[in-house]
C-alpha cells in the first residue's frame, strides 16, 4: 500500500534530475536574494543589540532558516500541476487508476521537494551558516523537533496548494486565488518576512488564527529556540490540527470535483 505511493516519490525525485541547469540557476538566484536580505538586516541592526528578544546573530539565523524554508513555497507547483491536468484532461488518466489522487499528488510533490531540500536548501543553508557564523539549534532534540515541524509545515503548504488546484475544476483560471493565498496571505502571515514577534498586535492576532504561520514561523522559531517547552508542544499540536483540517478539506474538495466531473463530464 505505502510502497505504491513511495514509488511516486522516488520517480518524481529522479525526474527532477532532468533539468539540472534550471536547478543551478534557481539556486544561484536564491543565494543572491538571501545575501541582499542578510545585509539588509545587518544594516538595520547597526547600533542595536536586541529587538524583541532577537540579537543580530539570532535575527540572521532566523532570516536564513526562514528564507531557506521559503524555497518550498516557490518551488512547490502543486496547484499549477492540478490546473494543467484539469485543463488538458489528463486528470481522467489518473481517475482510471486504482489510486488515491490526493496521496498520489502528495507523494509526487514530496519526491520533487526532497530533491529541492537536498540539492538546493541544504547547500544554501550550509553556505550561509559558514559565511555568517549562525547558531545551531540548542540541542539534538530540537533538531529532531525542527525537522518534524518542517515536514508538518510542508504538508500544510501542500494542502493549501492542493485545495487551490482543486478550484480549477470549477474556475477556468486559478492564478488569482493562487496569487492571493500564496504570494499575498502566505508571505504576510507565514513569518518569512520577519519574525511574527515584530508584528503589530492586531496583525499578530490575525496571524495566530491563520494556518500560514505553521508553515515557516513555527519550525524557524523552534530552530532558534524562541519556541520552547509548552509553547513548542502547542505549536506542533496546532500544526497537526491544521494538517488534519486542510488535508480533510482537500479530500472533500476533490471528491466534490470528481463527482462533478463524473456527473457533468469533463
Amino acid at each position: 500500500m505505502m510502497k505504491k505511493y513511495l514509488t511516486f516519490t522516488t520517480k518524481a525525485f529522479q525526474r527532477t534530475l532532468t533539468y539540472r541547469f534550471e536547478l543551478w540557476m534557481e539556486l544561484f538566484i536564491n543565494v543572491l536574494f538571501m545575501l541582499v536580505y542578510v545585509y539588509l538586516w545587518k544594516a538595520l541592526y547597526t547600533g542595536q543589540t536586541s529587538v524583541e528578544g532577537y540579537d543580530l546573530n539570532g535575527i540572521l539565523t532566523y532570516i536564513v532558516v526562514s528564507q531557506t524554508l521559503l524555497t518550498f513555497t516557490f518551488t512547490l507547483r502543486v496547484a499549477r500541476i492540478i490546473e494543467e491536468k484539469v485543463r488538458t484532461g489528463e486528470v481522467v488518466t489518473d481517475l482510471m487508476k486504482p489510486i488515491d489522487f490526493q496521496l498520489m499528488t502528495l507523494a509526487t510533490a514530496a519526491g520533487t521537494s526532497s530533491h529541492t531540500a537536498l540539492f538546493n536548501m541544504l547547500p544554501k543553508f550550509l553556505l550561509f551558516y559558514g559565511a555568517f557564523g549562525l547558531s545551531l539549534p540548542p540541542s539534538l532534540l530540537t533538531v529532531l523537533l525542527f525537522i518534524i515541524s518542517v515536514v508538518l509545515g510542508y504538508v500544510i503548504l501542500f494542502s493549501m496548494e492542493f485545495i487551490i488546484g482543486i478550484f480549477a475544476f470549477w474556475l477556468v483560471e486559478i492564478r488569482g486565488i493562487y496569487a492571493l493565498v500564496i504570494w499575498g496571505l502566505s508571505m504576510l502571515f507565514s513569518g518569512y518576512f520577519l519574525p511574527l514577534e515584530f508584528y503589530p498586535a492586531f496583525l499578530a492576532k490575525v496571524a495566530a488564527v491563520l494556518p500560514f504561520r505553521a508553515i515557516i514561523y513555527f519550525p524557524t522559531a523552534i530552530y532558534t529556540g524562541q519556541l520552547i517547552g509548552e509553547r513548542l508542544i502547542t505549536a506542533m499540536l496546532i500544526q497537526l490540527a491544521w494538517v488534519a483540517v486542510l488535508i480533510g478539506l482537500g479530500r472533500l474538495g476533490y471528491r466534490a470535483a470528481f463527482r462533478k466531473l463524473v456527473i457533468q463530464g469533463g
Binding site: 505504491k4 514509488t7 488518466t93 482510471m96 486504482p98
Partner: protein, 327 residues
C-alpha cells in the same frame, strides 16, 4: 454470459446558452437557459468475452461519452451498464483494476522519465506480482520490439514508439477489457499496421476483449470482427463487417481512362461521380445493371485506354450511412 451489457444507456448534458449583448448577458445571469444535448441516447449492446469490436461514429457522435461511461468516469443519465458484473461508476476503483485504457491523443507515461520507469510505476499502482510483471514486460517488449528504447525518456520517442509503449502500459496488469480511443491517430502506415497486428494477436492469444474507437476505417476492416456505428447518440448499425458490405455495398465503382477528353458523358443506369482530365469515376448498382453491360455501353460510344472496377471501401459505405442514414 456477456462481459459487457449496456441497456437503454443515455447521457444528456446541459449546455448553458449565453445570449449576446448587454441585456442578453444580464438576462443570462439572472435566468440561465440551457439546451439538452443527448450525447448518448438509448443505446443497447452486449459484448462477449474475447470479442474485438470497432466503435465508430463521426466527431461528436457519442463514442467517447460511451467509453467514459464504460470505464466508470462518467455517470449515465439513465440506463444500465454491467461490466464484468460491476457497475463501473459505482465500483470505479475495482473496475479500473481489471481494464486497460489507451487514449491515442495522450499518454499515461511520465514524459521526462525512461519508459521502463513508467512501467515500474504501473507495477506498483496495480500491485502486479514481480514474476507476472517480468513475464508480461518480456512478452510485450518482444512483440512490440520495445527493447531498443526502454531506457529512453518518453519525450524523445517517436509517436509510433510512444504508442507501442502506451499499449504495453495498458496491458501490464493483464486487464480483461482493453478500451482504445483512436489508437492509430497520427501514425504512419507502418506503425498503424504494427498496432493492428498487435491488437489481433493480443486479442487472440490473451483473450482480451477489445473495444476500439477510430476514424480510420482501415483499422476496423483489418482488426475487428464486429462493428457498431453510432450517430447523434444512437446506434445505427451493429453487426459484422461482411454483412454491412453485403447490405450497403451493392454499389460498384468503375474507373476509366478515356483516350481523349469527351465533352459530355452519358450512360444509362450509371452515375458520373467525378472527373479529372481524361479519368472518370462511374458508380452503378450491381442489382440493376451488370458491369459487362456498362462496359459494352462505354466501348460502343467512347474509346477507352484503361479500366478498373472496385468494390466500395468500407469507408465509402460508412460515409454513405452517415450522410443518408440506414435504409
Amino acid at each position: 454470459m456477456p462481459i459487457i451489457t449496456v441497456e437503454h444507456l443515455s447521457k444528456h448534458f446541459k449546455v448553458y446558452r449565453r445570449r449576446t449583448g448587454f441585456w442578453g448577458n444580464l438576462s443570462s445571469t439572472v435566468a440561465r437557459q440551457h439546451d439538452i444535448i443527448r450525447a448518448v441516447d438509448d443505446v443497447n449492446f452486449s459484448l462477449e468475452r474475447g470479442e474485438l469490436v470497432g466503435y465508430i461514429g463521426a466527431n461528436g457522435a457519442g463514442k467517447s461519452t460511451t467509453i467514459k461511461m464504460l470505464t466508470g468516469i462518467l455517470v449515465p443519465t439513465s440506463g444500465h451498464i454491467d461490466v464484468m458484473g460491476l457497475t463501473p461508476y459505482r465500483h470505479r476503483k475495482e473496475n479500473t483494476r481489471r481494464i486497460g485504457v489507451v487514449f491515442g491523443q495522450r499518454t499515461q507515461l511520465w514524459w521526462d522519465l525512461p519508459v521502463i520507469d513508467s512501467f515500474e510505476l504501473l507495477k506498483h499502482i496495480y500491485e502486479i506480482p514481480q514474476n507476472l510483471y517480468k513475464q508480461n514486460l518480456e512478452f510485450f517488449s518482444e512483440l512490440l520490439q520495445l527493447r531498443p528504447f526502454l531506457s529512453t525518456p518518453v519525450r524523445r520517442l517517436s509517436l509510433g514508439q510512444r504508442m507501442r509503449c502506451d499499449l504495453t502500459a495498458a496491458l501490464l496488469h493483464d486487464p480483461e477489457i482493453l478500451y482504445l480511443d483512436e489508437p492509430t491517430i497520427g501514425l504512419d502506415v507502418v506503425a498503424k499496421e504494427q498496432v493492428r497486428q498487435f491488437l489481433r494477436q493480443v486479442n487472440a492469444e490473451r483473450q482480451v476483449t477489445v473495444i476500439l474507437t477510430t476514424h480510420d476505417l482501415n483499422d476496423v476492416e483489418k482488426v475487428c470482427q464486429r462493428l457498431i456505428i453510432i450517430d447523434s447518440g444512437k446506434i445505427i448499425y451493429d453487426g459484422g463487417i461482411d454483412a454491412l458490405k453485403e447490405r450497403y455495398g451493392k454499389t460498384r465503382m468503375l474507373i476509366i481512362d478515356l483516350a481523349q477528353g469527351y465533352s459530355d458523358i452519358q450512360l444509362e443506369g450509371v452515375d458520373l461521380i467525378r472527373r479529372d482530365g481524361n479519368r472518370i469515376w462511374l458508380a452503378f448498382d450491381r442489382d440493376t445493371i451488370s458491369a459487362s453491360e456498362v462496359i459494352t455501353q462505354l466501348t460502343a460510344r467512347y474509346e477507352i485506354q484503361d479500366l478498373t472496377i472496385s468494390e466500395p471501401e468500407i469507408e465509402e459505405i460508412v460515409r454513405r450511412i452517415y450522410e443518408l442514414g440506414v435504409h
